[in-house]
């Protein structure tokens, strides 16, 4: 009848998670929802609920304690989804790069689609990022995207698609590949 895909970019609902940022970017996200920049004119709603979100706005360089939460929230988001890394430290660690409790950017954990630079990213850049993300969102397939790493255990279950289980198997596989690679390097 008509292409549903084009409506994806008309109604992106966002989920915001702070994975250890200085909250400079967070207040700018808040500011971009406020009257001056008003993200809602693009149909953006800040749902705060991973299950109903399409756009994952992450700030912060991923501290050790927030790793698992980040991945947990990511797996709870239904595809198609895009991840926006807001701020320098989210993209690459920024000024926190190489600090001992920091994992240098979220793309070590989850696949990132859009990197928004700036410290702190201004609302202008955030809007740019969201607009860019919407273009990417429109192209995405409905395939389940899995995080790059996963922690913790899962519950055994048969007969239904258990997302955590799938993600874990992917994570284990990638770990195995990494281990093989490092062995080869040593040899």
């Amino acid at each position: 009848m008509f292409d549903l895909k084009k409506y994806r970019k008309k109604s992106p609902w966002i989920l915001h998670y702070n994975a250890g940022s200085c909250n400079g970017c967070d207040i700018e996200i808040l500011a971009s929802l406020a009257p001056k920049y008003d993200l809602e004119r693009f149909g953006v709603l800040n749902t705060g609920n991973p299950k109903q979100s399409d756009v994952f706005l992450v700030t912060g360089p991923v501290t050790f304690r927030s790793r698992e939460r980040l991945v947990e929230l990511y797996t709870q988001m239904p595809s198609p989804k895009v991840v926006i890394a807001v701020g320098s430290c989210t993209c690459s660690g920024g000024v926190f790069r190489d600090m001992y409790n920091v994992e240098d950017g979220i793309d070590n954990y989850i696949p990132v689609d859009v990197y928004v630079p700036g410290c702190a990213s201004s609302p202008e850049l955030i809007i740019d990022g969201v607009v860019k993300a919407l273009e990417i969102l429109e192209q995405k397939s409905k395939e389940i995207e899995l995080p790059k790493k996963l922690f913790g255990t899962i519950k055994e279950e048969e007969g239904v698609l258990n997302l955590r289980e799938m993600a874990l198997s992917v994570a284990q596989k990638s770990e195995q590949i990494n281990a093989q690679k490092s062995e080869q390097n040593e040899n």
Binding site: D38, R41, D54
Partner: protein, 274 residues
Amino acid sequence: MFEIVLILIAPLVGGLMHGSQRVIRARMQNRQGPPLLQPFYDMYKLMDKRAFIVHPYHTILGILHFLTLWLVVALIILGTNLLYVIFLHLLATVFIVLAGFSVKSVFSHLGANRELLSLLAYEPIFIFLATGFYLFFGTYDISVIRENSTAIMTLPLLFIAFLLTIPLKLKLSPFDACEAHQEIVGGVEVEYSGVYFEFLYMAKWLEYIFVFSLLTLFAGDSILFAIALVAVVFLVANIVDNSTARVNIQETVKFLLIWGFGLSILNIIGLSFV
């Protein structure tokens, strides 16, 4: 025939009202806001999304909630028994409350519980509304109520009481504790996603139709008056939404029981002296 078309497009009309409500809210907050058709874009997007479910019962109950609500709206449009419609609406609430409690999620539980408590706030007023019309017209039939002249002069307090329930039903401030996005992340709808969330989303639109079609009963047979009533009440509800904070659920129930229900009783008692 006209009725059937009306029933079929009821969710769409509700969607339009929801859209315009979002636009008006944005304007009242001094910002541009989403396009008018935003709810429909949301709907298409949700259709396109892959959905996660928690367990099938939860999902089924959500869908049943939507269907029951549509049925309620259909029965109102067809002009059946008002009291019966209100009880059937209770059934719709039951489904959503059961759905909320059926998952082991804290926020869903909190939301469902608030939903139950809010039942205590609005259901008595609705039943008294039916009673008021019954005493005035001698019947519960909506079609009869629609064919006679307006009852608003005889039931002014009931009308006010009914107005008080509107923010509660439409999840508008100050009585939006059931949804309370900042506290319980949407309450019962928190565990729905994708196309299954759409049913809940559209159920919200149907609530608009439900509430406003009950409101038009006060207008009697005058269509112009009905439209004016809906427009004014819609605007006032939005203004109130944008000038009040959310009061918590206990206060809501207390306020509606004392003021809303109290006024309804007064009006009914008053009828016997007239």
